[in-house]
């Protein structure tokens, strides 16, 4: 089984979010970049398929050379090969087109992406790839088993879950549940050394087709100070929620 894991290079979840260049660009000064958490759950599940079912695992990212540290981390975790499509990730449509072009000439049995990236939160790349390439698609995936050519998938739905079956090839949007937080792997020294020797192919981008533009960012308005209510005046809290906030 050939697996491709799509990796987004995103600011660490604890990052302070600021913008520069007249609020047009994210300020990456002092920001630590990581594998998008939803992608990391998928990558870790892919490692399980590699170890138990003899799968090969490639990772792909659309980005400039600064994202290679993140791809090397994925290699250190255990991926076999990395592909970087050499372009700024202009929008979700563009990224999905680039990856689709790649998989059209390099087919995979299973493509794992995160349900969304934690920076732009578009939540569209896996679905767009599925739409372009007419591959089966399930998102909000919380469990995945493969038996021969058959996938059994658990999908989170509003207020519950459902179990689905389909044939490969398949693309999923993964999230926590695919593996547990405690299953995530910190690369060890041996993995880091091996990662340096593993192939990281740089592929030119194929066109500049996009549908959306991010023009300007704003930070939320600073909020009013919290109104504290003493713990022996709970009636006052209910009164505030009812008469002032009007939510009761």
């Amino acid at each position: 089984m050939k697996i491709l894991v799509c990796i987004s290079h995103v600011p660490d979840t604890t990052s302070k979010i600021n913008f520069v260049d007249d609020n047009k660009t994210f300020d990456n000064q002092g920001v630590q970049f990581v594998i998008n958490p939803n992608d990391e759950f998928g990558l870790t599940r892919a490692m399980w398929f590699k170890e138990k079912q003899n799968a090969t695992v490639d990772v792909i990212n659309v980005g400039l050379s600064n994202t290679e540290t993140t791809l090397r981390k994925a290699l250190a975790i255990g991926a076999d090969r990395a592909i970087r499509i050499d372009s700024e990730p202009l929008d979700g449509f563009f990224v999905a087109k680039q990856i689709t072009n790649y998989i059209n000439t390099n087919p995979y049995d299973l493509i794992i992406a995160g349900r969304e990236s934690i920076d732009y939160n578009g939540g569209m790349v896996p679905g767009l790839i599925a739409g372009f390439s007419k591959i089966n698609f399930v998102t909000n995936c919380t469990s995945l088993e493969i038996d021969n050519n058959q996938a059994t998938i658990e999908r989170e739905i509003d207020g519950g879950k459902e179990i689905l079956n389909c044939n490969l090839p398949l693309i999923i949007g993964g999230q926590k549940g695919l593996v547990e937080e405690s299953d995530l792997r910190i690369p060890n020294m041996r993995g880091i050394m091996q990662a340096r020797q593993k192939p990281l192919d740089v592929v030119p981008c194929s066109n500049q087709d996009l549908r959306t533009n991010s023009i300007k960012f704003h930070k939320p308005e600073p909020r009013q100070e919290v109104k504290l209510v003493s713990s022996d005046e709970i009636d006052k809290l209910i009164d505030l929620l009812h008469n002032e906030a009007k939510v009761l």
């Binding site: 939160n121 599925a130 549908r211 959306t212 919290v226 504290l228 009636d235 906030a245």
Partner: protein, 320 residues
């Protein structure tokens, strides 16, 4: 030209978030000077949609569409959008709508933006505001394709009455063949899901263990609220992952979010930032949540929550 609202029903009944989608779509249609069309699937009574601005209600009744299949629904929605020459399609942020939206974008060759919070500030170029960086920022974004697909963030626009023409019409779609089969569906019965709830009561490590969750559940029951939890609580297995809210869990955009024994890590706050009113109950006055909340009680949850619950019961009895 027209605006098409894609809405969801469950067991024949229109879901509540549909009224917000229709309110937004009809306001958008007014801005564009076109009609607002609403697409319903297997819905018993669609007449209420008129009140929120539906000019035309396109009804599809087909038992084969009862089980949600994203590929088939996207294709059917595209058939409808093409038949009415839609220039904008609006859908919600529910799990199913988000699942279907990118497939629909490909079918219609449309530009798609999710997490949109306002009507367009400009029509040329078509510019909308959306949340990004998991609610830590907003972004003004343009869509530059002819057909635009808008995923509206929950509770961002609100439900607004605005009488439409309300003409009902049936539509018979052609269905694609299924390639994914549903083996089983499991819904927690009798509980409100986080996505559908107006109020969410959420618990953190301050509750000390899963055996104390009756405090959260009792309060949620009184308020008709959904229950949620912080990341450490789901990681330790006290509560299921489906209740984890925050940056890597579920986003919450409710009217009222009550956090009990949650310190307020930046990742948690990012996930709940879109909620309108936030209340925190915590015994540590230094907890970061107090900087993000509207109302706060510094106190021991084990004392404060039962009192709050009793008083709310009395309040509910008086006001119902």
């Amino acid at each position: 030209m027209s605006v098409l609202a894609y809405i969801e029903s469950t067991q024949g009944k229109i879901k509540k978030n549909a009224f917000e989608i229709v309110s937004y779509s009809s306001a958008l249609a007014k801005k564009l000077n076109v009609d607002c069309h609403v697409l319903t699937f297997n819905t018993d009574d669609s007449s209420e949609l008129k009140k929120y601005g539906a000019d035309k209600i396109i009804k599809i009744s087909n038992i084969e569409l009862d089980n949600f299949d994203a590929k088939i629904i996207a294709n059917v929605t595209a058939q409808v959008a093409k038949s009415i020459n839609a220039n904008c399609v609006v859908l919600s942020s529910s799990v199913n709508s988000r699942y279907m939206a990118p497939l629909l974008a490909v079918e219609l060759d449309a530009g798609y933006l999710s997490n949109v919070v306002e009507l367009p500030s400009n029509l040329n170029p078509f510019t909308v505001k959306r949340t990004s960086f998991t609610n830590k920022a907003f972004c003004d974004s343009t869509i530059n394709s002819d057909l635009k697909l808008i995923g509206l963030s929950s509770n961002a626009y609100g439900i607004k009455e605005n009488e439409g023409k309300g003409i009902e019409e049936d539509f018979n779609p052609i269905l694609l063949e299924k390639s994914i089969s549903v083996k089983s569906t499991e819904k927690v019965s009798g509980k409100i899901s986080i996505a559908d709830a107006d109020i969410v009561v959420s618990g953190g490590r301050g509750l000390k263990g899963p055996e104390n969750w009756n405090l959260i559940e009792d309060l949620a029951e009184t308020l008709g609220a959904a229950t949620a939890c912080s990341k450490p609580v789901s990681d330790m297995g006290w509560r299921p992952h489906s209740e984890h809210v925050g940056q890597t869990g579920k986003p919450v955009a409710t009217n009222l979010y009550i956090a009990i024994g949650i310190s307020g890590a930046i990742q948690h706050l990012a996930g709940i930032n879109s909620s309108k009113i936030k209340v925190v109950i915590n015994n540590d006055p230094e907890a970061p949540f107090f900087k993000a909340a509207d109302y706060g009680v510094v106190g021991d949850a084990f004392q404060v929550v039962p009192i709050l619950n009793e008083k709310l019961k009395a309040f509910k009895a008086q006001n119902s």
